[in-house]
């Protein structure tokens, strides 16, 4: 049985910052754009080492998306940085027309996503961004689970061609994957093998699912845990293969139930392998101010909520 532990907590946004710095050293076409949140996005080291390839955009996100689209013409690979809210909802039309429809190689890197942003409250806690981004034709959508995977995913985006959305967060979070753990865009990562239920999770919720798995193992329930870090393109084969074995699924995400990971998994199962599914997600609600862990608990995203969902879905088999 695979067991995951951690000794260190780190924010996933630092994985982005460190990944961007490393990628910048490897690829001189990589440029960074930031809308007055260089510290929050951890882009300061990139800025310091590559001042000519870092662009301070000011608090003007719409212009940032347009400039990023333009910079691809002539071969640059722009990585834009701001909060997830301002990376998506605020600039949806700019992304849609100038980036997605135009097929531009822009990497939209979004921090402070979800409830775990914490005290800033609902204005900044976007829970709809994955839905908006995955609906855009040709957009790749990635939600890595910890510092190491965020760093690896950032570096992987350097070789990926086309528009992409990378979502990460603010709080310190367990670092439980190895730095050299293989990561492939669009390829699901099976973290724990099991036979009674498949849990599909991404982002911070992968750790919550690992904690839930330990509780469920005590109860004699065998969980298969799949980290669906890429929501688009979705690894449908991995979903179908796992649920063919376990017969049911629970999805876990720090996002609205409408339009998120659960939605994508449900669509796949409904079309190709109908099976009971339960979703651990925010249920058509805005967030509020508070401590990250308290918020996850209040909005039903705790390990205990996952345990309940698993017991419920197994009962529906």
């Amino acid at each position: 049985m695979t067991k995951y532990t951690f000794t260190d907590k780190k924010d996933t946004r630092s994985g982005f910052g460190d990944g961007l710095l490393e990628l910048g050293r490897k690829n001189s076409s990589v440029v960074g754009l930031c809308a007055d949140l260089t510290g929050s996005l951890k882009m300061g080291d990139f800025q310091k080492e590559f001042p000519n390839r870092f662009f301070q955009m000011g608090i003007a996100e719409a212009n940032m998306m347009g400039v990023a689209a333009g910079m691809t013409i002539g071969g640059m690979i722009p990585f834009t940085g701001t909060f997830a809210n301002f990376s998506t909802g605020r600039v949806y039309d700019q992304i849609r027309q100038s980036i997605a429809y135009s097929g531009k190689n822009v990497k939209i890197c979004a921090s402070h996503a979800g409830l775990t942003l914490g005290e800033d409250g609902a204005t900044h806690q976007i829970l709809e961004d994955v839905g908006m981004m995955k609906m855009l034709p040709g957009m790749t959508v990635i939600v890595p689970c910890d510092y190491n995977q965020t760093k690896t995913a950032t570096i992987a985006l350097g070789d990926h061609v086309g528009p992409a959305y990378l979502r990460f967060g603010r709080p310190g979070w367990p670092v439980f994957t190895a730095p050299d753990r293989p990561f492939e865009i669009g390829k699901a990562d099976k973290m724990i093998a099991g036979k009674d239920v498949t849990i599909f999770a991404n982002g911070h919720m992968v750790w919550q699912a690992i904690e839930a798995e330990a509780i469920l193992a005590e109860k004699g329930i065998s969980v298969e845990l799949i980290n669906l870090h890429t929501i688009k393109p979705l690894d449908e084969d991995a979903i179908i293969k796992s649920v063919s074995k376990t017969g049911c699924a629970v999805t876990c995400e720090e996002h609205q139930m409408n339009g998120g990971l659960g939605d994508s998994v449900a669509q796949t199962l409904t079309r190709f392998h109908p099976a009971p599914i339960e979703m651990v997600a925010v249920n058509d609600s805005f967030g509020e101010s508070g401590k990250p862990m308290d918020l996850l608990k209040k909005y039903g995203l705790s390990p205990e909520n996952i345990v309940s969902a698993v017991e419920k879905v197994i009962g529906r088999k």
């Binding site: 440029v31 003007a60 998306m65 013409i73 002539g74 100038s98 531009k104």
Partner: protein
């Protein structure tokens, strides 16, 4: 580059293309297209260094971005007349399976188009990004862009204006088609821009004013604008035009911003526009 006599034959032909294209699909925006014809002829046949064997990156070439994408007819006709694609393709404008989408797009790989436009206010930002990449690549060619005057009501334009001046993006020449009209009526009545020249100056741009419906003057203006580049400031050309120029019943009114002529109106328009180098 052609001699002036040859160049002067083009606007009338392109205007014929515009009204025929819009008539054939009974949709599109003839007014702004007709008003900007001299500007497009000047850019593509005299001013810009560009290659009709189109490639997206355009390294070593001058680039053009159309922000007010609804005037696609004049751009498509100009691109075809400049050899980017066969003029016969103009007949497919806005029709199913066409590369000539209602608003310009890259999705169907139409040569000459580098970004989609139509949702207003985005083209200047894209142009600035392309200009910055030219600087990073040590590419000394320029970026040209055209916006509408109604489009100045979009907030993103002013984000871009501020950014370009602050960062000394001095390898860009932007032009505003200053025809005073937008779909709902005169710009001054819909939402006044007040002193547009003062606004752009206050945002840190080098601003020139010109007449856009005299081909020789447009060429002269753009050459002057180019002489102002590389001096630490982005350059703005406020270009007065008449919407619908060249067709008497379309001139100077917002009414022909976004509607197509019927058969009779088409015949009337074509009777006013000489066929100079051959209809498609």
């Amino acid at each position: 580059m052609a001699d002036l006599a040859t160049l002067k034959k083009l606007p009338s032909q392109i205007r014929r293309d515009i009204v025929r294209m819009v008539h054939a699909c009974q949709s599109g925006h003839p007014g702004g297209s007709l008003g900007c014809t001299e500007f497009f002829v000047a850019l593509y046949f005299e001013i810009m260094k560009h290659d009709k064997a189109f490639n997206m990156d355009g390294k070593g070439e001058d680039l053009f971005f159309l922000s007010n994408g609804h005037i696609s007819p004049v751009w498509y006709s100009t691109l075809a007349r400049a050899g980017y694609f066969d003029v016969a393709e103009l007949a497919t404008f806005r029709k199913l399976n066409t590369r000539l989408q209602g608003h310009p797009a890259t999705h169907e790989h139409l040569p000459g188009v580098r970004v989609a436009s139509g949702s207003l206010g985005q083209g200047l930002s894209v142009s600035i990004g392309a200009a910055q990449t030219k600087k990073l690549n040590n590419d000394d060619r320029l970026v040209f862009t055209l916006m509408g005057d109604g489009e100045q009501q979009e907030g993103q334009v002013w984000e871009a204006a501020m950014y370009a001046a602050h960062n000394k993006i001095d390898n860009i020449v932007a032009t505003i088609d200053f025809n005073g009209q937008q779909i709902d009526g005169p710009v001054d009545k819909v939402l006044s821009l007040y002193d547009l020249k003062a606004k752009w100056k206050a945002f840190g741009w080098e601003v020139i004013e010109s007449n856009g419906n005299d081909l020789e003057e447009v060429i002269k203006t753009l050459k002057h604008a180019i002489s102002l580049t590389r001096k630490g400031k982005p350059v703005m050309n406020l270009m007065k035009t008449e919407m619908g120029y060249g067709v008497d019943f379309m001139v100077g009114t917002h009414k022909w911003h976004g509607i197509a002529p019927n058969d009779e109106q088409l015949a009337d328009a074509l009777s006013q526009l000489e066929e100079t180098v051959g209809d498609y």
